[in-house]
Amino acid sequence: MFTQYKYWKPYISPFDPCPPIKVKVYATPPQLYMGFQPPGLPQFPTPQEALRAGTLWPQLFSPYPPPKGGMKSE
């Protein structure tokens, strides 16, 4: 399944001075996969939604922050 964020678990030492961040996350937004944009991609229904998203095409939209809290905890 395609996700815009990838998660990984860094090594945690028993001697680490700070409480560990167990899962780290990095962004892999859509432009990494699209190649040449195919013609006729579906667009947002209204100009307002497109402006808010920053792009005409939902398939090029990249949400931030990552869905599940991400890097800050857990």
Binding site: P30, Q31, M34, L51, G54, F61, S62, Y64, M71
Partner: protein, 189 residues
Amino acid sequence: MWYYEKKLQYPVKVSTCNPMLARYLVEQYGGADGELAAALRYMNQRYTIPDKVVGLLTDIATEEFSHLEMIATMIYKLTKDATPEMLKEAGLGDHYVNHDKALFYENASGVPFTATYIQAKGDPIADLYEDIAAEEKARATYQWIIDLSDDTDLNDSLKFLREREVVHSQRFREAVEILKDDRNQKKIF
């Protein structure tokens, strides 16, 4: 030449009085991966890149200037009513001594903008790959600023700007595809 529309590309609203955020936002104003560096880089590379992608560089450089204008608006709003004491607390005491509340092209640590942030190698692929890298770095910078900011209205504008980096990266990647393509050339087998 350019025509100017006296409005921002996307609305900018700042809902909290937090001059500290201005200090972080300056990274996108005069930092190595900021909007000024991006605009100047693309504007300058246009002359020596194949004509097929000149228009793209013009369009994106122009949009970067409109982003620069948005960032400037955010910084101005966050600092215009701050007292010198508040600026000092926000880590902007050094800035105040040198610039009062004027904006200046410098990064978040106060290092002034320099042309060494950008490159024009003259090789179209090298230049476009630098442009793609610049867009990804600017996208990441927006992510880290959003992480540090709890101003939801400001973050709304920052998320728009981050998405534009995604779209620009996509377009530069397509430019590379155009220059790689040999469809229009005679093939002799």
